[in-house]
Symmetry: C2
Amino acid sequence: MGDVFKALADETRRAILDELAERDDQTLFEICSRLAMNHGLGSTRQAVSQHLDVLEEAGLIHSERRGRYKFHTLDTSPLAQIAERWHPKDSP
Amino acid sequence: MGDVFKALADETRRAILDELAERDDQTLFEICSRLAMNHGLGSTRQAVSQHLDVLEEAGLIHSERRGRYKFHTLDTSPLAQIAERWHPKDSP
DNA sequence: TTGACATGCAAGTGGCTGCTTGCCTAAGCT
DNA sequence: AGCTTAGGCAAGCAGCCACTTGCATGTCAA
């Protein structure tokens, strides 16, 4: 699952996860404005949209379309295995 | 600490961490041969050396020079904060 | 000291990636 | 219907990054 690591490699994408961790079910424009407000990031709508694609591809967020809005929710389950991959070896 | 995430974004670097998780105090050539044996990676010595620099910059490994050998050891402590950064929010 | 071995340094290159630009689709409101 | 709003698609561009190539440094053994 190298997609998860590559998705986390970008600062803007980590900021998006930060925002979704504070409030779920946010639309694209909500995320855009919150990135500008809370993180000082002036990313374009298309740029954020592409970031959301990468994050969803990695399984870190899920999206659901309701009417003309698309709501995004955080999924932290792929992060669990990261810390556990390089466990210090227990000698037998 | 974006360096940690960027360091983990590369497959070869993750394989290096895998090898160091199994045995500490490995030299550059040991790591090279183990990458070829266990992971099927035909990386050059210089390529692996640069990967080791990135990993050390990120604080994921430490190195110690003894004579003409340089031994590398794994340090998993930067990984702890990763899983804890996007904790599900506890409602007050 | 001489040679072999382990590693370091630095410039150059190809491919990936984040971002922009421009246009398009679709849903809701009046 | 007509307009606005939320989002999607795709091509192009610039910077970064992993890798190579060639040479240099330093250490041990004979």
